[in-house]
């Protein structure tokens, strides 16, 4: 039982990192990315490959995955951020689809549908993180660091420029800010932190396959932010907690057919997204006025 709860909490922490990092661009920069699961996947594969062939230290795997993700993000942000905001949504959705094809077809590197198995136990300063407790501790620290860094970033001049661009790009540009560069950097930072989550996930599950990085996963991450509240520090983490506890709670409702549980969950998320957008677009702990958060 304790193992079950610890597993759940580790997943909450990993999802919290994902949601927090995505919230940095959705909530503060007004950039809507549908490719977060793709970056999550790239990081998980990168982490697993490094762990299998080079080093299992988190201090090696995490930085490598962060750099890979940030570099890859340039592929979509450089072309699409030059044009209108909705192009980024489309480009990111396109990347998400291409990424899934690459994960399942580039068999020499990714192992195809079967994925990469036997990812070894993570190490930190030479200490093996074999127990769930120690891994949970590390995940929690990573989540706290991610939330802290993003909190600080939002309150620096960079964060203020970002919010200025979100609210009025033309005005920000006329004050000498370069919206394209600032947004590109923001996306790179967001995906780099997504990389942290990917590596933790690969070590935690100890195998990676394409199934975990579909467009549905992107929806999953997005709904955490939307339910919790975009543009807040704790909203995405609360959202991650709710979204992981919901399926755990559903399994106690024994009258529901087990076969349909996954679909029922998705229906609840989807309905929550629609209803929240109509009645409470700022999310559970978001600011009441959506215009502050998502601008135009």
């Amino acid at each position: 039982m304790q193992g079950y709860i610890l597993n759940l909490l580790i997943l909450v922490a990993i999802s919290g990192i994902l949601a927090t990092s995505l919230n940095f661009i959705i909530g503060y920069a007004g950039i809507f990315s549908m490719a977060h699961a793709a970056f999550f996947g790239v990081a998980a594969y990168a982490g697993a490959l490094v762990a299998l062939h080079v080093s299992t230290s988190l201090l090696v795997t995490i930085p490598i995955a962060m750099v890979v993700c940030a570099a890859l993000s340039l592929v979509i942000s450089l072309p699409s951020l030059r044009v209108r905001g909705d192009y980024f949504v489309v480009a990111s959705l396109g990347l998400q689809m291409i990424a899934f094809t690459v994960f399942s077809e580039w068999k020499d590197v990714t192992g195809g549908i079967g994925g990469l198995t036997g990812v070894p136990v993570a190490t930190l300063f030479g200490f093996r993180l074999a127990s769930l407790e120690s891994f949970f501790g590390v995940s929690l620290i990573c989540l706290a660091l991610t939330a802290f860094v993003i909190f600080v970033l939002v309150h620096t001049s960079f964060g203020r420029s970002l919010k200025a661009i979100r609210d009025n790009e033309v005005a920000a540009a006329s004050f000498g800010k370069n919206p394209v560069i600032i947004k590109t950097i923001a996306v790179a930072i967001s995906t780099a932190f997504c990389g942290v989550a990917g590596v933790l996930y690969a070590f935690h599950i100890s195998f990676v396959n394409p199934e975990s990085f579909t467009v549905d996963q992107s929806v999953f991450i997005m709904s955490m932010i939307i339910i919790g509240g975009a543009g807040t520090v704790f909203g995405p983490i609360l959202g991650a907690l709710i979204i992981h506890l919901l399926p755990a709670g559903l399994t106690y409702l024994t009258f529901l057919p087990a076969r349909d549980l996954a679909s029922l969950q998705q229906i609840i998320y989807g309905a929550a997204m629609v209803l929240l957008m109509i009645y409470w677009p700022s999310g559970l702990i978001g600011r009441a006025n959506i215009k502050d958060t998502w601008g135009k």
Partner: protein
């Protein structure tokens, strides 16, 4: 010879993509709603047709008409019950998009519960292929998809150019404020846009269900192809969206010539990236507005 066959297949696929894309472009162009649930309309039509004709034994033509009618009802209902309440309090682009996405997620999973997550397909005598000389084969359905697409585009051309509603719809995409000044109701017009846009996707869904089968998650791809084709053609240009769909269909089919089939789906998005990189305004579009 295989090249010729791939071109023939590509044209059939392109005709279907063009229908989806033009439907999306009508809605997006005149209402600026990022209608992600366009893909949902597609799977609803497909599954309704499958359920009526395959499970209940309704004659295929009646099933097709009912499914197409359902598409129109669904499109208009979403506009009225989801988008409009959001837009009433200054809904942003993303708010509407998220809600649209939510509708898609709900519908997809309802379909999974009722029909299962695996492929369904309908076999009709029309999907049997015939040799048209030189080893190139084509089915009646393939011919039908091209004919239907051409007929609907001719209808659309007439509708948008010659009828009052069509002209007002074009005006709506140009300048919504001015529409009000002329005493027309943008809300009402947007219903027409959703009705026609959703109707366009119905034949594509019907033919594709018979030719390649259907899965509940097909909607994501449909909407992606639609958006990609609209961007390639140039946002705001219906003709462009049609051409964009045709190009993507041909490209996807020709990709099989050189790459394994698993990669052919990625081809569309690689073309999309090249367009965003080199010519973001698309083939027929005006300069992309920032």
């Amino acid at each position: 010879m295989i090249l010729l066959q791939l071109i023939v297949d590509g044209l059939q696929l392109g005709a279907l993509y063009a229908l989806m894309a033009v439907g999306f472009a009508i809605i997006f162009g005149s209402t600026r709603v990022f209608h992600y649930a366009h893909g949902t309309t597609y799977i609803l039509v497909g599954y309704l047709f499958y359920w009526l004709s395959d499970r209940l034994g309704v004659p295929w033509w009646l099933a097709a008409v009912l499914a197409a009618a359902a598409a129109v009802v669904f499109g208009v209902a979403i506009d009225r019950f989801v988008y409009r309440p959001i837009q009433r309090d200054e809904g942003s682009f993303f708010t509407v998009f998220v809600a649209s996405f939510g509708v898609g997620v709900v519908a997809e999973n309802l379909v999974v519960i009722f029909f299962g997550a695996s492929y369904v397909s309908i076999s009709t005598p029309l999907s049997r292929v015939h040799d048209i000389g030189g080893g190139v084969v084509i089915s009646w359905l393939g011919i039908a998809s091209v004919v239907i697409a051409l007929a609907l585009f001719a209808f659309l051309n007439w509708f948008l150019g010659r009828t009052d509603v069509g002209v007002s719809l074009r005006a709506l995409s140009e300048n919504p404020e001015l529409i009000r000044g002329f005493g027309l109701n943008p809300r009402k017009l947007s219903q027409y846009a959703f009705a026609i846009g959703s109707l366009m996707v119905a034949p594509a869904a019907l033919v594709a269900t018979c030719v390649t089968g259907l899965t509940p998650s097909a909607g994501h791809r449909v909407v992606l192809i639609s958006i990609a084709a609209s961007i390639i053609g140039g946002i705001g240009s219906l003709r462009g969206a049609g051409f964009g769909g045709l190009i993507l269909g041909l490209a996807e089919s020709l990709a099989v010539w050189k790459f394994s089939t698993g990669w052919s789906e990625a081809v569309s998005f690689i073309i999309l990236f090249l367009f965003i990189l080199a010519r973001p305004s698309g083939l027929f579009g005006m300069r992309a507005r920032v």
